[in-house]
Amino acid sequence: MLRRLGILIAILGMTLNWTSAADAQAGDADSSEYLIKAGFIYNFAKFVEWPSAAFSQPDSPIVIGVIGTDPFGSVLDHIVEDKKIGPRGFVVKRFKGGKDLKDLKDCKILFVSASEKAHVDEILQSVKGLPILTVGETSGFAERGGVIRFTLEDNRVRFEVNVEAAHQADLNISSRLLTLARIIPQTAATGRNPG
């Protein structure tokens, strides 16, 4: 009886394993973290208002730029694929990063990867005054003039908002988003630079 059950379990195990092979995909060990963050980015698009002049057409897509090493893999593309906020769809673009900061101005949301830690100031400087929602995760990102920074607390994703930076980018952030955020004051050093 026991022997038969053991064999049954063995066979079942193998069969199921083959089924799983079709569904499985090699990815980042912490893929769930960026799945959640992608969900947040989609929500940011819902709760942030860009100036109407920021879009050339009423149905121009919301361009999400990812600069530096992309931690999302294909997750972000899948999340926003076929999604619309009002008349606008989404486009995900990737930028190499480093010193190459051309073409960022088309973005409406710019995710600054942790790989760009050394270039955060340059990136933020290059989009200064443009209606771009900058999102980062390196420490001090919001203090240095980024609009939103993701943090992890107790294994949950949290975010900080620099309201001053949003204001300078002419972005209107919904209070629904602000009530969930930790509000970060811009540090005096960056604040002194005129926008």
Partner: protein, 685 residues
């Protein structure tokens, strides 16, 4: 009876081999299997509040919101532990709604979920980073040596109710998972030192760093508790200390694999006041007794996760030595291997399955009062489980069903199925219900113990014979598993973004609970002097029902002020079967509180001060003659700069002292919980 067991023991090895073969096959299939294909859950349907509640990772490497679990789950976070001022795991567990946490003396606790509390409570399974700390010796937990560097705990997940399908036998009334942070989240150093009125001194240090793809940490800690008081007011003999060290290393190369290696080593000395019977006048002696707990463990875990699936293989070795020289000496070596895999099947199903093997080697030395036969034994334990989670009706209704199948050397084959249903009424409200079966398998003691619990002097009213009469509890090979059939119903609501509430109710139907049935007295010639043995044998002649409810509410009044509250109710109706001759009272009923509640306020004050105040009420325990009590605990923390923290905490501030429990089986003197004050200073770098 005996021969059936022998037979099944023979069959065990072939079942084990088949399982090992399946494990190897699974590993091979997995290595070749990670290929293309997509199944990304649609997170855009989730609100930001939902997203904020999502755990980045969980034990089974699955993203799951606590609000989505069809079980009574409660999570104690690192922040909760820090702000409560708790300095031990048992004290931190007092934050769990409905959990019964009672201190017997400075180094002993009785902790239970949903009734049946006792020092040797056997219905609560406890794991630290996937390593079971539930001892097969007496089916319970040595709470005094279940310790970690508290700063490195990520969270403590407590499931009230059965968790046997995933966790196996003995997860009858609850499962506690103590989960430590990954090494990459404990980089840098922490040095902490403290002193107080009871915990006289403690110090701990941890340092974490990274080499290449490997993050690691190492820690060491020491504490020393002074003695408490007997209820008479005189100083007791229950001080203790502990020295402990350990490490964790996580190797995460690029790609889908990661490896974890971790281990601990500890030594603890404790005191107690022990009463043991003897065969010569005055037939019992009470004396201060000292003992020693020591041990170590090492655990390795391989994880492979990709977007559609995850799997893990975990192995550990655990050594525990208990040297209570006047009573019992026990050496236990446990080797455990566990494989589990989870994956999506299509868009709507999530499948998890696993295999496990455990080997337990036990060696013990006996005394007059406690002895165990055989005094050297090896037990093998095999298990497998399957669980499927199906999403019905557009993700609004989720059905989880599965079963554990396991084999142990005492009762043979055990099947523990469950079915759970979660219905998401609105994005902010859900209802869940579950039916599960769980068993509590016999402990070594229930099979082969001899406990001389009392000696009745000769030529007295109760014993007119010329020989001393020894009242003895024997284990029995006839002892079977205790059974539970549990029905649960729960409701969760997120009223506003700042207010949430949770209610869990249950009806538990137990059968085959343990009794002690009298046998025929006999004369015993050796060792001298001659005595009469009045035997009681472990049997399964008690059954009945328990029901209750646990409520919890969490209200963020303003961003800087959080109020949480909990109330729990428990009604036990356990009766001996009509053929039971057990002369003791229906004892479990009165040893757990019927009502418990607490209210806790957490305030962030200006100047980086934090204040946490908790008022708790625990109902009386009628069968133990313990009155109800209130306890006011307060904690003040101050972080003038991020890297320095001062902490001062007081417990039981309302009264001088109260008694919380009376121990069962082993007659050690209970001591009171005094009003205590404790302060500490922590540096981070």
């Amino acid at each position: 009876m005996r021969s059936i067991r022998k037979h099944s023991r023979g069959a065990t090895t072939s079942a084990g081999r088949a399982m090992l073969a399946a494990l190897a096959a699974a590993l091979l299939a997995a290595n070749s299997g990670a290929q293309s294909g997509q199944s990304v859950p649609d997170v855009t349907t989730l609100s930001m509040e939902d997203l904020m509640n999502m755990q980045v990772t969980s034990v089974s490497k699955r993203t799951q919101k606590v609000a989505d679990a069809a079980a009574a789950v409660f999570v104690i976070t690192q922040e909760d532990i820090r702000r409560s001022g708790a300095t031990s795991i048992p004290e931190a567990l007092r934050l769990v709604p409905g959990l019964e946490v009672a201190r017997i003396d400075e180094n002993k606790w009785a902790i239970a979920s949903r009734g049946f509390n006792g020092r040797f409570d056997n219905k609560l399974l406890v794991l630290i980073d996937g390593r079971s700390v539930y001892t097969p010796l007496f089916s319970g937990v040595y709470w005094n040596v279940q310790d970690v560097m508290l700063e490195d705990i990520d969270r403590i997940e407590v499931i009230r109710g059965p968790g046997a399908t995933l966790w196996g036998a003995n997860a009858v009334n609850g499962v506690i998972n103590i989960i430590s942070k990954k090494a990459k989240d404990t980089q840098g150093g922490v040095v902490s030192a403290g002193a107080g009125t009871e915990e006289r001194g403690s110090s701990s240090a941890r340092y974490g760093s990274t080499i290449g793809n490997t993050a690691y940490r190492a820690y060491g800690k020491y504490f020393n508790w002074g003695p408490s008081l007997y209820s008479s007011g005189t100083t007791a003999h229950d001080g203790w200390d502990e020295l402990r060290g350990g490490f964790r290393a996580d190797w995460t190369p690029a790609g889908a694999n990661s490896l974890t290696l971790q281990g601990d080593i500890y030594q603890s000395k404790y005191g107690e006041t022990l009463t043991v019977p003897s065969l010569s006048a005055p037939y019992s002696s009470t004396f201060p007794n000292n003992g020693n707990y020591s041990g170590g463990n090492i655990l390795g875990r391989w994880n492979h996760s990709s977007e559609g699936s995850s799997m893990s293989l975990q192995m550990y070795y655990d050594n525990t030595t208990i040297a209570d020289n006047s009573l019992f000496v026990d050496h236990q070596n446990i080797f455990d291997m566990d494989f589990q895999q989870g994956f999506h099947v299509g868009d709507s199903q999530q499948f998890v399955w696993g295999l496990g093997y455990r080997s337990i080697r036990d060696r013990n030395d006996s005394s007059f009062s406690v002895s165990l036969q055989p005094n050297q034994v090896t037990l093998n334990h095999f298990s497998a489980f399957l669980q499927d989670e199906v999403s019905l009706v557009d993700n609004r209704l989720r059905l989880t069903f599965g079963s554990k199948f396991e084999h142990n050397d005492f009762t043979g084959f055990e099947v523990q199925p469950n079915a759970r249903l979660l219905w998401t009424l609105t994005p902010n409200q859900s209802v869940w219900t579950a039916v599960s079966r769980a068993v509590r398998t016999p402990a070594l003691t229930e099979e082969g113990l001899r406990l001389n619990s009392a000696v009745i002097p000769p030529a007295t009213l109760t014993n007119p014979t010329p020989f001393p009469a020894v009242v003895t509890v024997f284990g029995s090979h006839q002892f079977q598993s205790e059974d539970l059939l549990a029905y649960e119903l729960g409701y969760r609501v997120q009223v506003t973004s700042s207010l949430s509430a949770d209610i869990a109710t249950f009806y538990n139907n137990y059968s085959n609970l343990r009794t002690a049935e009298p046998g025929v007295p006999s004369l015993e010639g050796s060792p001298a002097p001659t005595d009469i043995v009045i035997p009681f044998f472990a049997a399964n002649k008690m059954s009945g029902g328990t029901y209750g409810a646990e409520l919890f509410a969490d209200w963020k009044v303003i961003p800087k002020w959080r109020l949480v509250g909990s109330y729990s109710y428990l009604q036990m109706d356990i009766r001996k079967d009509s053929d039971s001759l057990d002369p003791t009272a229906d004892n479990p009923n009165g040893s757990s509180p019927r009502h418990q509640w607490y209210v806790r306020s957490s305030i962030d004050l200006p100047m980086h001060f934090e204040d946490d105040t908790t008022l708790r009420f625990v109902d009386h325990l009628p069968s133990l003659n313990i009155p109800s009590y209130y306890s006011l605990d307060a904690h003040l923390g101050w972080r003038p700069v991020q890297l320095v923290e001062f902490s001062i905490g007081g417990q039981n501030l309302l009264n001088n002292q109260h008694l919380e429990f009376i121990p069962d089986f082993i007659n050690t003197a209970p001591t009171v919980v005094k009003r205590t004050v404790y302060g500490s200073l922590t540096f981070r770098f």
